[in-house]
């Protein structure tokens, strides 16, 4: 950390962090005790008192994976919200313990791919100083609760889901009953009818809205998932009252813990149980447990919610003033800026404000990677323009939630100078990719080079604007960490007689119209795949009607034409 940032961090008044729960001494003690435990375990491993076999479950509890070349540390970013001080801590870890960069993931976390075992405790201490940790970022437990990257900001939002995400975070952290489930368990929660959290592809997806008495109610989706058996989750309840949120979640997890399969890891997720029992029978079992519970014990009183909410800092929005007019004028004067505003911003609920998506997908770049210098810049921008708050998106970008419209041009200039001004959000080069064979021990193929090739092929921004919204997601194997099934155009790395090859899937979506992409045909080599994508795009441009997106044209026209253009070129 430079002396300058040090002074800034120390000089910061002890106010609550905007957009996330502010730790108190009790939370810090909790973390400290867990780190001491991990320090012991690492020391026992280094001394040889623990074998790698015995160490494995212990390190996984702290987010430490053994990858192809090194240990990987996955840091939890609860509901994707980070403070500037935390971002600087991440930059410091990238600089001191990694090779100068970190990788944002599709579950709003950040991974460091080159951590040495001897350094892990020191890295966890840097995290703890910034109220962060890596607990439950792996293992068969409830993982990081993800949420909407525009939470608390989006104009279409009905309520900020992060207070309930925090309640779920606390409840699920080292939960005594649910830390050794049949398989990992992923929650997502949104407070907007527009699903930006992929709720229907999670073990549990929650959509919150205000209820009749002013307290929130939740729609509960269960049993969605990707991996080798992609399944769209089913709606278990539409009207779960806030006070029963934890009771109902416990009931679902109890049924899963008792009956989820443990004989085959490929069939161990809750989605398989829900499918095997059928939605009605699964719901019946959950209800049976739910009514048997002493609900008073699990009730979330409004007072508890308010007390947690009181630990969240709220942004103090200034009156709009001339901000809207200034932005309009800036856009009129600067075409490149205008193009960026069109793609990389999102409507804000407060007049005069706007949310900014910072693309971590420069032409030819590695999706989701950020260098230590970029992280520091993001922290500075968050401090100067967005109440010190930053969000990670499940599409591997970063969001400044609350920027005043009259400052947007300055923000864009600063981003552009650092190579972070790419105007491609939701375009064909806004690619999501898992780490793949460059890092991951389970991979069949490298995800990153093909992402880079596609990104270079379509680098021309005018062409990208012409193509419009198109989601490409790439996974290096069937585990689907890159969400390829949920992409309009998905790419899956497979092993074809010992060679890396890629399958294309078309027609997936992770939003309200959730659907699973269908495999187009046999896998191809990397360059052939890139060419095939070009031909698919050409066909779409010819066939589209009235401003259709690629996905809409595909759904209307059907698979055959797209298949022909790839496998039977004229």
């Amino acid at each position: 950390m430079s002396t300058e940032t040090m002074t800034r961090a120390e000089a910061a008044p002890a106010v609550l962090p905007v957009g996330r729960y502010g730790y108190d001494q009790i939370d810090r003690t909790f973390l400290r005790e867990r780190i001491e435990q991990f320090r012991d375990q690492v020391n026992r491993r280094i001394a040889g008192d623990l074998t790698e076999e015995e160490f494995k479950p212990l390190r996984l509890m702290n987010g430490l994976y053994l990858q192809l070349h090194a240990y990987m540390l996955r840091v939890a970013v609860p509901y994707g919200t980070l403070g500037s001080k935390q971002v600087r801590a991440l930059a410091r870890i990238a600089r001191e313990f990694d090779k100068g960069y970190g990788h944002f993931t599709t579950r709003q976390n950040i991974q460091f791919n080159w951590i040495k075992l001897e350094d892990t405790v020191a890295a966890l201490e840097v995290l703890a100083e910034a109220d962060m940790h890596a607990i439950q970022t792996s293992g068969n437990c409830i993982r990081n609760i993800t949420s909407d990257e525009f939470a608390g900001a989006a104009k279409d939002e009905l309520l900020d889901p992060r207070v309930h995400a925090e309640i779920l975070r606390q409840w699920s952290t080292l939960h005594p009953e649910f830390t050794f489930l049949p398989r990992k368990f992923k929650f997502a929660i949104s407070g907007s009818p527009h699903d930006r959290v992929v709720a229907r592809f999670h073990d549990i997806g929650l959509i919150a809205r205000p209820g009749p008495h002013g307290r929130p109610v939740f729609e509960v989706f269960v049993g969605g998932g990707l991996g080798r058996t992609p399944i769209v989750g089913v709606s278990l309840r539409d009207d779960l009252p806030e006070e029963d949120l934890l009771a109902y979640m416990e009931a679902i997890l109890r049924v899963y813990n008792a009956h989820g399969r443990r004989d085959n890891i490929y069939k161990a997720r809750i989605k398989i149980l829900v499918q095997a029992l059928g939605t009605d029978e699964f719901r019946r079992q959950v209800e049976e447990e739910f009514v048997a519970m002493d609900r008073a014990r699990y009730r979330i009183e409004p007072g508890l919610v308010e007390a947690i909410k009181a630990r969240f800092g709220a942004p103090a929005f200034a009156p709009a003033g001339e901000a809207v007019a200034v932005l309009a004028e800036d856009r009129r004067r600067d075409i490149a800026f205008d193009a960026w505003v069109r793609t990389n911003t999102h409507e804000h609920k407060a007049p005069g404000y706007i949310s900014v998506v910072i693309s971590l997908k420069p032409a030819g770049g590695i999706p989701g990677d950020a260098t230590a210098e970029q992280l520091d810049l993001l922290a500075d921008l968050a401090d100067e323009f967005s109440f010190g708050e930053l969000r990670v998106t499940h599409l591997q970008n970063v969001v400044l939630g609350h920027v005043r419209q009259d400052q947007l041009h300055t923000v864009w200039q600063r981003l552009s100078q650092a190579g972070l001004g790419t105007a491609n959000v939701n375009f064909i080069t806004d690619i999501v990719a898992c780490p793949g064979l460059d890092y991951c021990a389970l991979a069949n193929a490298r995800s990153i080079p093909i992402a880079q090739k596609l990104s270079s092929r379509f680098a021309n921004l005018e062409l990208q604007r012409e193509i419009g919204d198109l989601r490409i997601n790439i996974s290096g194997c069937i585990n689907a960490c890159g969400h390829h099934h949920a992409a309009h155009l998905g790419i899956l790395g497979v092993d074809k007689r010992g060679q890396e090859a890629f399958q294309i899937t078309l027609g997936g979506s992770g939003e309200e119209d959730a659907s699973i992409g269908q495999i187009l045909g046999p896998a191809m080599a990397e360059d052939e795949t890139v060419d095939a994508v070009s031909r698919l795009i050409d066909l779409y441009l010819v066939r589209r009607e009235n401003g259709e997106r690629f996905l809409d044209t595909y759904r209307r026209v059907g698979t055959a034409a797209f298949k022909d253009v790839v496998y039977a070129p004229a």
């Binding site: 003690t29 867990r34 606390q170 005594p176 009953e177 649910f178 830390t179």
Partner: protein, 164 residues
């Protein structure tokens, strides 16, 4: 096999029934499929081993006559016994002893206790230090135990852990 209670080894006054031998007198733990035989006995206290694939409700009738239920971990990763212990306490209001046996890590000790388990069987050559430490090391949890009444920390879900 040493038995741990409150982080310390204690004397085990129970014995396990031996296959194809009569149960005899004294405190005895029977396998699940010999439960009715055990219930028919008149002298000594009775315990039963609950396989982790069984629902605790199968013990509902027998429970008033049971002083001990043993929940099992074929491997530490198989966490069904946590739910069974919790359900015995929460739904069936079992007040006897719950013992955990099988493949268990010291790092799971805290979770077992918070689900209502009292004692843990550990193998003969186990280093006791990590078990004892596991109890002393932690003072805070971020959610209430499903069965214990732990002291709240002031607001929210957090609880102070009871240190023995």
């Amino acid at each position: 096999m040493p038995l741990l209670e409150n982080g310390h080894p204690v004397e085990d006054t129970w014995r396990y029934a031996v296959e194809s031998e009569a149960l005899g007198a004294g405190d005895i733990i029977v396998p699940f499929d010999r439960l009715s035989e055990g219930l028919g006995r008149t002298e000594g206290r009775l315990g039963v081993v609950l396989p982790n694939s069984e629902s605790v409700s199968t013990l509902k009738e027998a429970l008033p006559k049971l002083a001990l239920v043993v929940v099992t971990f074929p491997i530490f990763r198989d966490g069904r016994a946590f739910s069974q212990a919790r359900a015995l306490r929460e739904h069936l209001h079992f007040t006897g002893k719950i013992r955990a046996s099988g493949h268990i890590l010291p790092d799971q000790y805290e979770f077992l206790l918070r689900c209502g388990v009292d004692s843990v069987e550990v193998s003969g050559n186990t280093d006791m230090a990590p078990w004892e430490q596991a109890l002393r090391r932690f003072t805070i949890a971020t959610q209430p135990s499903p069965v214990l009444d732990e002291k709240p920390t002031g607001f929210g879900l957090r609880r102070f852990l009871a240190t023995p």
